[in-house]
Amino acid sequence: MTSIFNSLRQLWRDLRTQKLRTFLTTLGIVWGTVAVTLLLSFGQAMHRQMLKNVLGLGNAIVITFPRSTSKPFEGLGKGRPMRVTEEDIELVRKRATLVDAISSEYADNLQLKLGTKTMAVDVSGVSPEFGEMRNMIPQMGGRFLNPLDESQKRRVAFLGNELAEDLFGASNPVGQIFRLHGSPFTVIGVLEPKTQDSSYSGRDKDKVNIPGSTFRALTGQKYVNLFIFTSTDVQKTKQAADEVRSILAGKLRFDPTDKEAMMTWDTTEMFQFMDSFMTAFKAFLAIVGSLTLVVGGIGVSNIMSVVVEERTPEIGVKMALGARPRGILSQFLAETLILTAVGGGIGLLITFGICEAWPAGMEEFIGIPEVDLHVALLTSALLGLIGFVAGFFPARSAANLDPVVAMKMT
């Protein structure tokens, strides 16, 4: 017992008297921890944010816009407009082997009435599959369109979150009734807010989604504005697009190689780009992080070894007064542990502070940085270990010298 208290007393005394070393070592560990942890927090946040932005549009979907033929085919001239009906979509759904899900989209700007309010809104008629493909996640208490809505041509609507707020304010929109193009519609769900980087016809937050069948009955529109599909395998999106085009080519009689007839926007290309970008970005983070660690480690180890060397005479005096080598080393270990814990703790607090104080306005680009506790602990532990190793060997050789020799070292 006494010996533990005695060691603690010596330890406290040394930490107190070695203010510069205590300060510099702690600073080194604080700095390293903050730098690495912040770097990784922001990197992770950016990664998440980019994924979210891309996913806002959908899960690796291919968007197809029927256009006009650009090549003559079987005696038919070019420039013939392509008209795709729900039947054609159904055919693709049945035949295409590489297509996982497909949804048509009918779109128009229609008049919406609620009480005395009248406004024009973008309305899309879509299939139930659309929800999952486009990441239209309903808020609590609501749902997206389902197959029954489609088959029974129900007059139900799934609202974008901002539109819902404009219309209903703070009250719960689900179950409320409004008029669209003259007919009453019931709200069945509201979009969970999402970040959406790209779009092809306005943002989802401002839109009304209703079943495609209902849309056609309501407006009399027969042809799809566009359709979207996902492939069974992200790597095979190109083949899937070719397959879809050739099925439609047989039905609508156009050249299967005529890409203009069915203009496609393959968002998986964006995914693939994102993927390689993120890989490069992560490699960059890893390199910068390791370099920071190396630089921090060199700093901490330099301070440690210089200071321990400076303290060699002091160690000599202690040995002359009867200190044991083991005692000197274990005190050194305890000191390093305390400095590491304090430095790591302060570093963590600073990192938390910066992440907390991060302005919300930056969210769209960088996202919300979150501190990875493991990274922070690992970083400070590593720096502490480096410092310990750097100080341990000079301390040990000092403790193994004859006291007189150590005392004369300067």
Partner: protein, 239 residues
């Protein structure tokens, strides 16, 4: 040669300092035997090897060759922890240049050997205060060594050497920095200790202090050139 009550027994002790270019043979074959309770003054010109010898006696340095026994035990055969215990309990050392730790107070300097010796807190406080009182520095306990005069530092060093109540007190020029009166005080202190049964080795240039010692050993150029011998023994010069 070695008698039962000899506390220090050295045979053919040599110490060579290897400074890379030159080798300095500081001690060239020392035979020295000191019995328990002796008061020995070591004299000799500067650079003759007195401090070197004292360091070896205090187990603070390793001889190049020769045999050294401390109370019959071979010092060369001791483990590190045994050596630490010897330095802590058996020997009290007053260095020529004090070797106080500059960043801590006089009190803490004196307390240091007690910490290494595992003395409980209250006992430590009691002993340090008594010692500081004894060397006349009761009012300077919280001063750092740099805030003390040379003589005061000297006295802190004496208090530290006495902290663990050692069997042997080794003092390298303990009065070198003191005026006649405080030098006299320190000598009184040594005299007291010696009369209480301690063994004392003092390096000194001060003839008055040397005369107080019952035995004088003179070193020149790394060899003992005169030894007045133990009390009762012949005090004839060796050469």
């Amino acid at each position: 040669m070695t008698t039962n009550d000899s506390i220090i027994a050295m045979e053919q002790i040599r110490k060579v300092y290897d400074t890379g270019k030159v080798q300095v043979e500081a001690l060239r074959g020392i035979d020295l035997e000191i019995s328990k309770g002796e008061f020995v003054a070591i004299v000799g010109p500067s650079g003759s090897g007195k401090s070197t010898l004292m360091n070896l006696i205090g187990c603070l340095d390793t001889p190049t060759s020769g045999v050294y026994r401390l109370t019959g035990q071979l010092v060369a055969g001791m483990k590190k922890d045994e050596l630490a215990t010897v330095r802590n309990r058996r020997v009290g050392f007053i260095f020529q240049n004090f070797n106080l730790l500059p960043q801590i107070s006089a009190y803490e300097n004196v307390e240091m050997p007690l910490l290494f010796g595992g003395v409980p807190r209250r006992e430590r406080r009691r002993r340090v205060e008594a010692l500081m009182e004894r060397v006349g520095l009761a009012d300077r306990m919280e001063h750092k060594p740099t805030e003390l005069s040379g003589g005061q530092m000297q006295r802190v060093a004496v208090a530290r050497a006495l902290a663990m109540d050692p069997d042997i007190l080794l003092a390298d020029e303990p009065t070198g920095n003191l005026d006649t009166s405080s030098g006299g005080d320190i000598m009184e202190l040594f005299q007291d200790l010696w009369e209480q049964g301690g063994t004392m080795l003092v390096i000194t240039h001060d003839p008055a202090l040397a005369r107080r010692a019952r035995r004088q050993v003179e070193i020149q150029d790394g060899l003992i050139t005169r030894d007045t011998g133990s009390p009762g023994a012949d005090s004839t010069p060796l050469r």
